[in-house]
């Protein structure tokens, strides 16, 4: 009966943090992000070894059988460590299957996704910043998908894509497409966040399998996406604050460490003051995903907006506080600055989610 992490969760968090610190320090992050895919098999297998890709997959399908909060804790650590790779899209793809597929489909698809040998991603957003399924134009007809999806994370690395599209009845549903299927064109893009590349994907009569579970699966996956992005944003924000505090304690100017100047102290205090309560916010949303379902969608919208706004300010303030060195390529801070831009844009911007939260409240 409490609002805190369990001993298991704390242990998992520590384990993952240590793993990333050792296996994916910033030198490694930079090496991986400079590759064409920004995906490193060894790192991915390491994460698979810790069970990360399957954390939320039911135990009977080979996963950890845990909750979204556990997955979000992983997202937080990956955000903290600036980890490159397809975690986010894969996690959302597994959730699409868990929430939107039939029992038979789950049995077929989940085991390889849980062990991470089949990498998934989601193809949702469309042109004009359309992240609202009601406005998606991609359609499913005669067993195939046609349309264009923008900002698909790691489409070139994924084995399967979980696509949101309109069926003949006009309802938006999830479809599973194999990356090697005919009629898929993946356009590589130059993107800001080098640790999480995205591509545009065009479908032209691409064979696709409809998910046969509850239609609510798509919204569940979107909610989960909002929460995971928020957790990533929190992890990154926390790291930025830590870096700024540590810099303020060591960098000297005018004969003293800059952290002794009240102006710097107060800027850091303001950052901490915004950060701390935000933790409880996404914890609650993640908890609600499994336990207070009627509050989940609205909380997910709110945390996406709030945490990504926060991330933006934290990366900006931390950069400013570092002065010249914060503006260099060699200093790592801008890698989080770039991740913040991903988190803001992916799944739709803060304003979209706030408006959604207003509508969900019936205003």
């Amino acid at each position: 009966m409490d609002f805190g992490l369990s001993a298991d969760q704390l242990l998992f968090q520590q384990t993952l943090r240590r793993f990333l610190a050792e296996q994916c320090p910033m030198t490694r992050v930079r090496a991986i992000m400079e590759t064409e895919t920004a995906h490193d098999l060894a790192l991915w297998q390491g994460l698979c070894g810790l069970g990360v890709p399957g954390l939320i997959v039911p135990a009977e399908h080979g996963g950890g059988g845990l909750e979204l909060l556990d997955l979000a804790l992983a997202a937080e650590e990956l955000g903290y460590a600036c980890t490159p790779g397809p975690f986010l899209g894969h996690a959302l793809a597994t959730i699409c299957v868990i929430e939107g597929a039939s029992e038979e489909q789950r049995g077929h698809w989940l085991p390889t996704m849980a062990e991470g040998t089949s990498i998934g991603t989601v193809a949702w957003g469309e042109a004009g910043s359309q992240w609202n399924p009601e406005h998606w134009a991609t359609f499913y007809e005669g067993g195939t998908l046609s349309g264009e999806k923008l900002f698909v994370p790691f489409a070139n690395v994924a084995d399967v894509l979980l696509v949101g599209a309109r069926n003949a009845e006009g309802s938006v549903r999830l479809y599973r497409v194999e990356r090697e299927a005919p009629g898929i064109t993946i356009t590589p893009l130059a993107v800001v966040d080098m640790t999480r590349k995205v591509q545009h994907v065009r479908f032209e009569r691409t064979p696709a399998t409809p998910l046969e579970g509850p239609p609510s699966g798509l919204q569940r996956a979107i909610d989960a996406g909002c929460i995971l992005v928020a957790a990533d944003a929190f992890g990154g924000s926390r790291r930025c604050l830590e870096m700024a505090v540590s810099y303020a304690k060591t960098r000297e100017q005018f004969g003293q460490v800059i952290g002794a100047f009240q102006a710097v102290k107060h800027q850091l205090a303001n950052m901490a003051c915004e950060l701390e309560p935000a933790l409880s916010l996404w914890w609650y949303a993640a908890h609600a995903y499994d336990h207070i379902r009627d509050q989940c969608e609205r909380h997910a919208a709110m945390v996406k907006a709030h945490l990504t706004d926060l991330y933006d300010r934290m990366t900006r303030d931390a950069t400013e506080l570092h002065g010249g060195i914060g503006f260099t390529w060699e200093f790592d801070l801008h890698l989080w600055f770039r991740r913040a831009i991903f988190d803001r844009g992916f799944l739709g911007d803060a304003h979209y989610h706030r408006e959604r939260a207003a509508r969900l409240a019936g205003w």
Partner: protein, 417 residues
């Protein structure tokens, strides 16, 4: 983490609802005493009439109020359960039923007595304070010693079994109606800074006390100045050890009321703002349809929720016996700035109608949002200025170097309520 509304909690919620239906009727609700122009002042927002007291006694009996206070002192002595607490607060709020009193007595004195008081002090004061039968005022601030308590000048000199108190307190809300004052006084003037300060309970009926009203910017006089001239206070009214007053006064911070209080207050004001935005027409449509106001409303609701859940987190840390660290230090700054932002939003929702003053009958909500707005600024100032909060967060929370010039430990002006 376990907040789930499992069947036993749903059952609990039903139980609370049933209790409310039975004990807080439409008639009770409608019987609200006439609006008190001072109703928005710190901590007096909650009804305290006879019906309310009768209701509170029943609610305590059922374990709904003052759950952290032992039954022998008038509380309901319930196991720590943030979820039940949330359910109680939710349902009480929906039913507009009297909740725990949040004046300076219940919020500040009671936790202090629970931790530092003698058995006699506890028996004598706690129960009556929780029911509002004893009203308290706080005697911390002095002219020229706003956030800087090290410069406290009110003296209490020992004379046999009595302290003889001389000095001048300011910003003492409700001093005119309070029965007692809990005060910080200097018992050992020669000792440096905080070491000479003690925590004393002073009967406001004592000879030598003069109370003078102090008008605040709202135009009302919710505060007072209190002049103490050779006031004799029995040594048995000392709480904690002599010279430990500073530590004693800070024990409040560890108690749950304070942790949740500010979030609750912002929640209530935000409820009001949302209602206002739905009811009020702004250029041809309900204000809540205005995209800019709408977005700000969601943003502030998000922060209010963050504040609430942050309270849960702190309570949990406390229950586990863990040091909340920086998480515990940011609460006040977050809450007071949020409170200001929420009240500020009300002014924007009002648009030109914000010009109508409290008491103007044609004004939305009788103009009370202006009072809330000014108070939100006053609270920002009262709780130790925001800058002092930032010093505390930076130094104690983030481990940045202390400013040798500012004694910001003393800066936590505990004035609030």
């Amino acid at each position: 983490m376990d907040l789930r509304f499992r069947p036993e909690y749903e059952a609990f919620r039903q139980e609370v609802r049933a209790f409310l239906t039975q004990h807080w009727t439409d008639e009770d609700r409608a019987s609200a005493p006439p609006v008190n122009p001072r109703g928005m002042s710190l901590g007096t927002a909650i009804r305290n009439d006879e019906r309310a007291t009768r209701f509170r006694l029943a609610a305590i009996e059922r374990g709904y109020l003052y759950r952290h206070v032992p039954r022998r002192y008038g509380g309901s002595e319930q196991p720590f359960d943030p979820l039940k607490l949330a359910i109680i607060q939710d349902e009480f709020r929906k039913a507009e039923a009297p909740g725990e009193l949040i004046g300076q007595g219940p919020s500040m004195l009671v936790p202090t007595l629970l931790e530092h008081g003698t058995e006699e002090q506890k028996q004598r004061f706690i129960r009556d304070t929780l029911l509002g039968k004893i009203q308290w005022c706080q005697g911390y601030s002095e002219p020229g010693a706003g956030s800087d308590l090290a410069s406290l000048r009110t003296r209490a000199d020992l004379d046999g079994d009595f302290f003889v108190v001389n000095g001048h307190k300011i910003w003492t809300s409700n001093a005119d109606t309070a029965d007692w004052m809990f005060a910080l006084v200097r018992t050992d003037p020669d000792k440096p800074k905080h070491e000479g300060i003690s925590y004393l309970l002073i009967d406001m009926k004592s000879p030598g006390i003069t109370v003078r009203p102090l008008r605040q910017m709202t135009g009302e006089a919710d505060f007072n100045e209190v002049f103490l001239d050779n006031v004799r206070v029995p040594v048995t009214n000392l709480v904690g050890k002599r010279g430990q007053g500073w530590t004693v006064s800070r024990s409040t911070l560890k108690h749950e009321r304070n942790l949740i209080g500010s979030a609750l207050l912002s929640e209530r004001v935000l409820d009001g703002v949302r209602f206002l935005a739905q009811a009020l027409e702004l250029r041809g449509r309900p204000a809540i349809q205005d995209p800019v106001l709408r977005a700000r409303l969601v943003e502030l609701e998000t922060k209010v929720l963050a504040s609430r859940y942050h309270g849960y987190r702190l309570l949990t840390l406390q229950a586990r016996g863990e040091d909340p660290g920086i998480a515990g230090l940011v609460t006040k700054l977050y809450g007071t700035t949020l409170g200001y932002d929420v009240a500020r939003l009300a002014m924007d929702v009002l648009s030109d109608r914000g010009l109508l003053a409290p008491g103007e009958t044609t004004a939305p909500a009788m103009g009370m949002f202006l009072t809330a707005y000014m108070w939100s600024l006053g609270i920002l100032i009262a709780g130790g200025t925001a800058n002092i909060q930032r010093n505390v967060i930076a130094e104690r929370g983030l481990g940045l170097p202390r400013d040798p010039r500012a004694q910001r430990d003393t800066g936590q002006n505990p004035k609030e309520g």
